[in-house]
């Protein structure tokens, strides 16, 4: 019996494909945001609001990841330039999108006609934090009914986030959600994360989120 040294990242296979995706997006000048949250926090609603506000300024494609159904794809169909639904039910992993799923979805998107790609990950605060997809920025949504302790319970996803969105702000009078405590936890884990307070129902705060996206897309374009 002999011992052989290996030292190899187990996630390397996913990361290699993610780098390839990012290169492809770079070549076509597409800026991609990976949107993550628990189920029901408002990923689809945020995408719908973003499409409504930005569809006349940017050509937007959407990749919808769900365990099953095309419910979300149908909701965003009318305002997006292209919508691809990925159902993870029949994939080896159903709890998160993976770089290989994005790689095949990108083949069905007319990338030359697209400025912004919004990727809606599977509703889950654990698994998506392990799998990079090739995105430029990662956004995590927490909504008021979930409680303000999510960054404490699921730190990884917040550590890697570029944007943290507090959604359903219209419910603030009815729920015990301490905005200051939430902001404090996020800032502790990730001082660089941009925090947005908004409501997809009332429109409050959506404009600031959309301005952030526009600035990111512009930055990305000038960097190329």
């Amino acid at each position: 019996m002999k011992k052989i040294e290996v030292i190899q990242n187990i996630l390397e296979a996913n990361e290699t494909i993610a780098r390839r995706n990012q290169q492809l997006l770079y070549e076509h000048k597409v800026f991609a945001i990976n949107i993550m949250s628990s189920p029901g926090a408002g990923k689809t609603s945020l995408i719908q609001q973003t499409l409504t506000r930005l569809k006349n300024r940017l050509n937007i494609a959407v990749i919808e990841g769900d365990v099953a159904s095309t419910v979300d794809a149908e909701k965003v169909q009318s305002d997006a330039k292209a919508v691809i639904q990925i159902n993870t039910r029949n994939m080896p992993e159903s709890c998160s999108l993976m770089a290989a799923m994005i790689e095949s979805a990108l083949m069905d998107i007319p990338l030359d006609d697209i400025d912004l790609l919004l990727i809606e990950n599977v509703g889950n605060l654990i698994c998506p934090s392990e799998f990079t997809l090739g995105e430029h920025k990662r956004a995590v949504i927490s909504s008021l009914p979930e409680g303000d302790d999510k960054p404490i319970k699921y730190p990884l996803i917040f550590i890697d986030a570029d944007a943290v969105i507090i959604n359903k702000m219209d419910l603030l009078p009815y729920v015990d959600f301490d905005i200051a405590a939430f902001r404090h936890s996020v800032a502790g884990l990730n001082p660089e994360a941009e925090i947005f307070e908004l409501s997809c129902k009332t429109d409050e705060g959506i404009e600031r989120w959309c301005s952030w996206i526009l600035a990111q897309v512009k930055n990305n374009a000038t960097r190329q």
């Binding site: 019996m1 002999k2 011992k3 052989i4 040294e5 290996v6 030292i7 190899q8 990242n9 187990i10 996630l11 390397e12 296979a13 080896p92 992993e93 159903s94 709890c95 998160s96 993976m98 889950n124 654990i126 698994c127 934090s129 392990e130 799998f131 404490i152 319970k153 730190p155 990884l156 550590i159 404090h184 936890s185 800032a187 502790g188 884990l189 001082p191």
Partner: protein, 113 residues
């Protein structure tokens, strides 16, 4: 929840590395898994037993070295281990904390013949 695909990666890496070393059988695979990484060792072993069938990795034992979460205070640089889910520095009480260890997930070595 996502251990199936991960275990496929483990089998692929192990078989490729054993081939490179011209080994005919893999006896043990040593993996390093961070406490924060969200991968469940028992679950990996379960999938491994079925995914490694009919390969030179069949019957191999997986040994997991668990790396405890280690944190670093951004304020005073104290290195510490979390005592509860709320991360705060035991020296200065700051809650501005970075993760210095605990996300590892790699194959360290193998025993082959």
């Amino acid at each position: 929840m996502h251990e199936f695909g991960i275990t496929e990666n483990i089998v692929n890496i192990a078989v490729a590395k054993a081939d490179e070393a011209q080994a005919s059988k893999i006896i043990q695979i040593n993996l390093v898994v961070g406490e924060m990484s969200g991968f469940v060792p028992d679950c990996i072993q379960f999938y491994f037993d079925s995914l490694s069938k009919d390969t030179i990795a069949q019957g191999a034992m997986l040994r997991f070295e668990l790396v405890p979460t280690q944190l670093r205070c951004r304020n005073c640089s104290t290195i510490f281990q979390p005592e509860d889910t709320l991360w705060s520095c035991p020296e200065c009480r700051s809650q501005s904390i970075e993760l210095s260890k605990g996300r590892e997930f790699y194959m360290e070595s193998m025993e082959v013949e």
